[in-house]
Amino acid sequence: MKNRSLVSISDYTIEEQIKILELAAEFEKNPRQKILENHVVASLFFEPSTRTRLSFESAAAQLSAKIVGFSEASSSSVSKGETLKDTILTVSNYSDIIVMRHPREGSAKYADEVAPVPIINAGDGAHQHPTQTLLDMYSIMKTQGRLDDLNIAFVGDLKYGRTVHSLVMALCQFNTTFHLVSPTELKLPSYVKQHIKDKNLTYHQYTEMNEVIPLVDILYMTRIQKERFFDPIEYERVKDAYILRLPMLDNTRDNMKVLHPLPRVNEIDSDVDDSPQAYYFQQAKNGVFVRMALLASILGVV
């Protein structure tokens, strides 16, 4: 994968995705390595995303890379009206790889076209966030021992969540059975469901999550945002139906884990945090290992 940008998850074959996950497992065993000592990683966050940025920067720092960059557009020359192309071309002179978060959809692909160095897309608008998908896959593989033949439930806002769309698409490669729990207003878009059908896989749709919990290996929770509802009364009506509380986890499968891309607001009760099923903080930690694997692979040091 040397010098290969990661703009969209489909840029990497299934074998290459698995290779990244295996390499991430190696870094988890031995995270502090000075293998990127002679490399500079640029971290360009045109919109703030503290969690993703710190995860990337921590991954780079643990491998001894130098990090340059900015954490929001206002502290860069973008605020002076510089084009994305000019920023990317300039920063390419200062770094070996660029990690970029940008509010516009398609910006990562465009940056990749103009940049002489590889690009890792850390989120381009509502379009793609492939490293989140890889860390979700890593978390599933790690907790279940495999990616194939699992029952996976997605709960909450399935309509607007880019994280959910990308993960569903990626899991379609692994004979997954999908359980989709959402208010009718926030159902999974038809093009994603079509993708499931095209792969001859099964999905079930629900408006309540209670009956789903005992059936699944992974319960992937997401946040329902008030702004997504035209009718505030409707939001009030549904919001409590999608909160995970500790007693609901009484009858789960032994291997069942709860994932969440974070930040969480109130959709998982804090009581759940200490349950054996809670995995979302470990999931966030896994993101660092996956990003180490990506940086090391693309920079060609492994």
Binding site: L84, K85, R104, E105, G106, K109, Y110, G125, A126
Partner: protein
């Protein structure tokens, strides 16, 4: 060739005639083929009577012959158009336009948050539906349908 008493748009000796253009698309076709910057003689007419379509437009470009990939893009706005190559006042070749597999440059992406609408980026689309004419942006992957076409 059918005989006509008088041609509304004069015949050309050599060049290309683009016939059966929907009347509302004539100026778009001129723009798409960059004819506004072409220095050859160009004759065009619109709102002409057509037996087949009621009304039509026609463009005649002297001494110019188009490569299919340059001209097929007009199929997006003028699917009924026919291309006639004229040599020595005679029809040398006649063909219909075909919707291409990819569309570059002149259509705008429908997604207001697409990078192509904010930076000086040449647009690229894959034609994912030739019947209803739907284009998928290679940058943001959103689909632009025929009814939403705006041209750069």
């Amino acid at each position: 060739m059918e005989e006509r008493k008088e041609l509304k748009v004069n015949a050309i000796e050599n060049g290309t005639v683009i016939d059966h253009i929907p009347t509302q698309s004539v100026f778009q076709v001129i723009h798409m083929l960059n004819l506004n910057e072409c220095e050859n003689q160009i004759l065009f007419g619109t709102n002409l009577d057509s037996k087949k379509y009621g009304k039509k437009g026609i463009i005649k470009v002297s001494n110019r012959f188009f490569a299919p990939r340059d001209v097929n893009k007009i199929a997006l706005v003028a699917p009924t158009a026919t291309l006639i190559e004229i040599r020595n006042y005679k029809v040398a070749k006649k063909k219909v336009v075909v919707i291409p597999n990819t569309v570059d440059e002149f259509v705008k992406c429908v997604n207001p948050n697409c990078i192509t609408n904010h930076e000086d980026v040449v647009t690229h689309f894959r034609v994912i539906d030739k019947k209803d004419v739907k284009l998928q942006c290679l940058y943001c992957e959103k689909t632009t349908a025929k009814d939403n076409f705006t041209f750069k």
